[in-house]
């Protein structure tokens, strides 16, 4: 009896996945627990271990396919078993499922805000589906439209993505194009920054400018997640921002001594490790800042798990340093280095990217002095850390040069107010300006 292998839920928040790579081919024998494919999820590229054993009779999905949960991806069975009928049934199922797939965009918006797998949120019911986008798209990104509607839209200079389809499965039909024209949807030439043609725009010498085509970058799973979560946060959470200057001379000296002591062990503590440790300790002092909003009440987290934003080539991830208040700087340093390296290699497990209660994000290495960040859904605050640089400051009426750093606490005003923020920042400032407190 043949077995249909379906796309599994590999993370709590996964709604669809991409077959990144097959590790099996048709005809191969597969053992239970064998890695058969790499699946790109909203969080990471995961190894998919087979739940079943048998011969691979058919790979239904191809590398690069984006599929919904439970979508058939392969068929296992006895060697040379005839699965023609089963494949026909699967094809019919796919055809019949087209209607359901057309609803996909709305479903995606209905995701809960708990990518961080916050326990309370995980049980919360999904939010109401948000308004569907103008045009539906098929799995391959193609917008369903009748040939006539395509031609009419082309002639009217309209993008199909600007038109809402009223036909079956969201298909755009002639009536929809007519309506869009009547409602005055702007032709694409009016709002698309297409580069000028050589004939129309020239420099002062009459020479045409070089033209470059616009490109459309397909949304990766990670980018889709960022779009969803950052948009949700900015829509729902009223943000407030408080910036605190912090004198880092003592911390710099402590770091120098510490790294000298740890040099033989190959551990190097960064300023960011100091800040993670200090933030975690400050969170324990001010539990209101280590909290997040739910309609039923504000959840103050018992533990301080600090997420650290790690930039990747095409997005970012937030691995978590758990119990950061209780870990030594050395332990934090080892952990952040490992997490950072594996994040860039896309080797993090979802568990390593979930459960943060607060986040630290640092753009100091680029020379950014201060900036404002967006609170991760499921948390109440994020600390945006700027560069440390020598500045002239006034102390006791004298101008002195100090290593100054500015941090901005960006927070959800529903959870706590400016004064709570300020008190947390005072504690944080104290811990970093007199860093011996971090060692006890």
């Amino acid at each position: 009896m043949a077995i249909i292998v379906e796309l599994p839920r590999l993370t709590d928040t996964m709604e669809e996945g991409v077959i990144a790579q097959w590790h099996i081919a048709e005809g191969d024998k597969v053992k239970r627990g064998q890695v058969i494919a790499d699946i790109e999820t909203d969080k990471a590229t995961m190894e998919f271990e087979s739940f079943d054993a048998g011969y691979v009779l058919k790979l239904v999905a191809s590398e690069g396919d984006t599929l919904g949960l439970g979508a058939p991806i392969a068929v296992l069975g006895k060697k040379d078993e005839d699965v023609g009928d089963l494949l026909t049934a699967l094809a019919n199922r796919a055809a019949g499922g087209a209607e359901a797939e057309a609803q996909e965009p709305a479903k995606e918006d209905a995701a809960t805000s708990t990518e961080s797998a916050v326990p309370v949120e995980a049980e919360a019911t999904p939010a109401a589906p948000a308004e569907a986008p103008a045009a539906q798209t098929l799995d391959n990104g193609r917008i369903p439209a009748s040939p006539l509607a395509r031609r009419l839209a082309r002639e009217a200079g309209l993008e199909l993505s600007q038109i809402e389809g009223s036909g079956p499965h969201g298909r755009i039909i002639k009536a929809d194009v007519d309506r869009a024209v009547a409602e005055g949807v702007k032709p694409k030439s009016a709002d698309t920054p297409k580069v000028a043609t050589a004939s129309s725009e020239v420099d002062e010498h009459g020479r045409p400018y070089a033209t470059h085509e616009d490109t459309t970058v397909k949304l990766s799973q990670m980018r889709k997640t960022i779009v969803k979560r950052m948009g949700q946060s900015k829509r729902e959470a009223p943000h407030i921002y408080l910036t605190m200057p912090i004198r880092m001379d003592e911390a710099a000296a402590a770091r120098k001594q510490l790294n000298a002591a740890l040099a033989e062990q190959g551990v190097k503590v960064s300023f960011n490790d100091f800040i993670i440790k200090a933030a975690a300790k400050a969170l324990r002092v001010h539990p209101r800042v280590n909290a997040h909003y739910t309609p039923d009440g504000i959840i103050e987290y018992g533990n301080a798990h600090v997420g650290m934003a790690v930039a990747l080539d095409d997005g970012l991830v937030v691995p978590v340093v758990r119990y950061a208040d209780q870990k030594t700087l050395k332990a934090i340093a080892s952990e952040t280095r490992s997490l950072g390296t594996r994040a860039r290699d896309r080797k993090l497990a979802p568990a390593e990217m979930s459960g943060s209660t607060f986040t630290v994000t640092n753009l100091g290495m680029f020379g950014i002095e201060e900036f404002m960040a967006v609170v991760n859904p499921g948390e109440g605050g994020i600390l945006a850390v700027g560069a440390i640089k020598d500045e002239v400051v006034v102390e006791d009426g004298q101008m002195v040069i100090r290593k100054m750093m500015r941090v901005t606490l960006c927070s959800d005003h529903r959870v706590f107010d400016g004064a709570d923020n300020a008190k947390f920042l005072v504690t944080l400032k104290g811990l970093l300006e007199q860093p011996m407190g971090l060692f006890v």
Binding site: S146, P147, L148, A149, R150, R151, G167, P168, I173, K174
Partner: protein
Amino acid sequence: MPNLQIRQAIRDAMAEEMARDENVFLLGEEVGHYNGAYKASEGLLERFGAKRVIDTPIVETGFAGVGIGAAMCGLRPIVEFMTFNFSAVAFDQILNNASKIRHMTNGQFGVPIVFRGPNAAAHMLGSTHSQAFDPFYAHIPGLKVVAVATPYDAKGLLKSAIRDDNPVVFLESELMYSVRGEVPEEEYVIPIGKADIKRPGKDVTVLTWGQGVPTALEAAEMATRHDIDAEVIDLRTLRPLDNECILESVKKTNRCALIYHGWPYGGVGAELIARIQELAFDHLDAPVLRECYEDVPMPYAENLEHLVIPSAERGLAAILKVCYKA
């Protein structure tokens, strides 16, 4: 203008052509003394004699072959199959001789012959006597295929078929021999290869032929209650198809449904859809649908037969669907 049944229009067409050209003659089972199984040759034996109205034994292969040989020798035979179900026995004659002789002899011999008789399901004749032969014959290069649904068309097209220098398969319907309509007294012919708009409309093109014509017209009437103005086109000739008429209509309405009495797989409907998607792709606002027999052998039981043969209600459902009103 006389109001005639289709059987009378067919008889008149044959009589006029036999009177006009002494090379024309009729042969088939029961065409003479019995006046035709469906009385389509009534009075012809009496008028033209036994040399030109020939009762044959029950051997379709034989008399189809005799007809083809006579045609090669310069005569213009009309071969009546009591039903086209029996033409299956003569299929080799039609496929390999009638349709190929002109080609095989490099034009030295032509086969000006008409094979005519009722086609497709009638009423409770069982699966082997309810065949729709339209696609079998329309499939063959070298044949022309005509299907008629009114007395006017039957007479005008049969006269053209008899005068045609190539073999013509002329499909009638047992259930429609008594359908009445006005037929001019003066002589007329209808050219083969021209479709006819039986009901002009602007919202959806309904393509049909033969027994499907009344079904499609009824469905189109029902569609008016849904504010749909359907244009019903009777193809009349299945080979060669009237591309011009079909495409002009589809380009006007942007939608098309097919309602016909025949099976879906690889049929004339499939050929129509292939042409429309190729030649009018950018004019389509909806997929082209067909409503036809269910893809099963025709049942004998009356209740089941009614489920297989497309009703006007099923035709309406197809029209609504292509109009996105279902």
